[in-house]
Symmetry: C2
Subunit: 238 residues, 2 copies
DNA sequence: CGCCTCCTTGATCTTTCTCAAATCGAGTGG
DNA sequence: CCACTCGATTTGAGAAAGATCAAGGAGGCG
């Protein structure tokens, strides 16, 4: 269970807490790629824990422009904020076919009451997600396109290796250039050019759904990637 | 106490919970404008609750570029994420002289264990903050400068009116054009031009530390401002 | 085969940045 | 009261990053 693994990095979970966590994984469901799971503005939505596949959360503006806020990979929550805020402030779309576990607001709040440490752990996971959104914000605001792309793909690799889906060499990545454009605040055309530039300067290659690091150290430097905000040396709470 | 007021909007707090919250407000401190409270990379930092004044959280990139992630106003947490993640992933600078209450990690985690509902409330507040960061991200990624500025200033007004610091007409705002530039991912020069444009088209005026709405309805429309993500009809938990 | 999605590349245009310089008001010391 | 400084604002001119428009190409699939 990728979620337990993730939370376990922060809070040393007891048997009871693991059992409560396991009980959240009862309602299993699957969704097909491309059909929204949650739609911006819906209220009283359930949250989900992503078991397999990729999804993205995004917002649509009036003029039809889309901004992807984050991609979700196995072990991530989908729509946790929507549950807490009572209304979905963003939409969620599966990028591939996905498997999820549905979690109702009452389940979650009940679990928190029974095992407060789990609440702390979830608060930690939410903070980590926010740290990624913040880094994303910084990238869009103050990095130019190539640096932004490099940083983004490095972060994704770092997250994926945490759940065993990436190696030092690279990772499988189902994102299209259109998705990258919507995530990075660029046009799809420019994404293409930037990827070409990264390939031609020997930093990384994104081709046929696979990201390959061509020179990891130089790439880290080029992107100014600092993995501190994703690292954690061990459980904070014992 | 602005924090109790804010959390009270989400969770109907009991006398015990209010007492625990009050106990967090023991260590009062003041800081002068311009000197960092928290510095990027510090570990085991305390968190603060802002009692009066304005602050901002930001990240500095290698090349010295700065991106302001969010401004904090009374009732907001400062550095909550840094406590949970064990390391500050951003810096915090007071924009005006400020008064804060220092909160240690242990106080906070202790309070959560004693009153789980408080943990839920703080999780809610954190989610609300994240929703604002997300909206900020969307603005930087997909809105052009004028729209971005208008949306940003409307959101700020909306947050301020929640704690009684803004009216329908406008609000006092200590931000310089340099701060706005660093927040919005623009150059200070362009911020100036955009403010002029908004003034000349009769939408809003930002002058002498005061934001005045010149035509609120047209401004809402121009910015595509949707206050849903800040609204809450009442306590979710009773 | 024909259609569809995604990727690729060229040409041109727009937004925003950078550099430069003038202005303005609040303090400060003489 | 005046000269001086300092931070913030304002405006202009030219440059650059990235957007938009347009058109092909390559692979998958009914």
């Amino acid at each position: 269970m990728p979620l337990a693994r993730k939370l376990g990095a922060f809070v040393a979970l007891s048997a009871v807490e693991l059992a409560v966590l396991d009980a959240l994984h009862k309602r299993r469901r699957t969704f097909v790629a491309g059909r929204d799971l949650v739609h911006q503005g819906q209220s009283d939505q359930a949250a989900y824990i992503l078991a397999s596949g990729w999804a993205c959360s995004y917002k649509i503006l009036r003029d039809g422009e889309r901004q992807i806020v984050d991609f979700q990979i196995p072990g991530d929550f989908l729509g946790l904020r929507s549950v807490l805020l009572h209304t979905a402030d963003h939409s969620i779309e599966p990028i591939t076919d996905i498997e999820v576990c549905e979690v109702h607001a009452s389940d979650l709040l009940g679990a928190f009451t029974r095992t407060p440490r789990l609440a702390t752990a979830v608060l930690w996971a939410a903070s980590r997600d926010e740290a990624m959104v913040v880094e994303h914000l910084v990238g869009i605001g103050r990095r130019h396109a190539a640096e932004r792309m490099a940083h983004f793909l490095l972060e994704l690799g770092s997250r994926l290796s945490l759940v065993g889906l990436a190696t030092k060499a690279g990772y499988a990545c189902p994102l299209t250039q259109y998705l990258l454009a919507d995530a990075l605040g660029l046009s799809a055309v420019h994404v293409n050019r930037v990827l070409r530039q990264l390939r031609e300067t020997g930093l990384l290659t994104f081709r046929d759904g696979y990201v390959t690091y061509d020179d990891y150290d130089r790439l880290l430097d080029f992107a100014g990637f600092d993995p501190v905000y994703l690292d954690h040396t061990g459980p904070l709470l014992r």
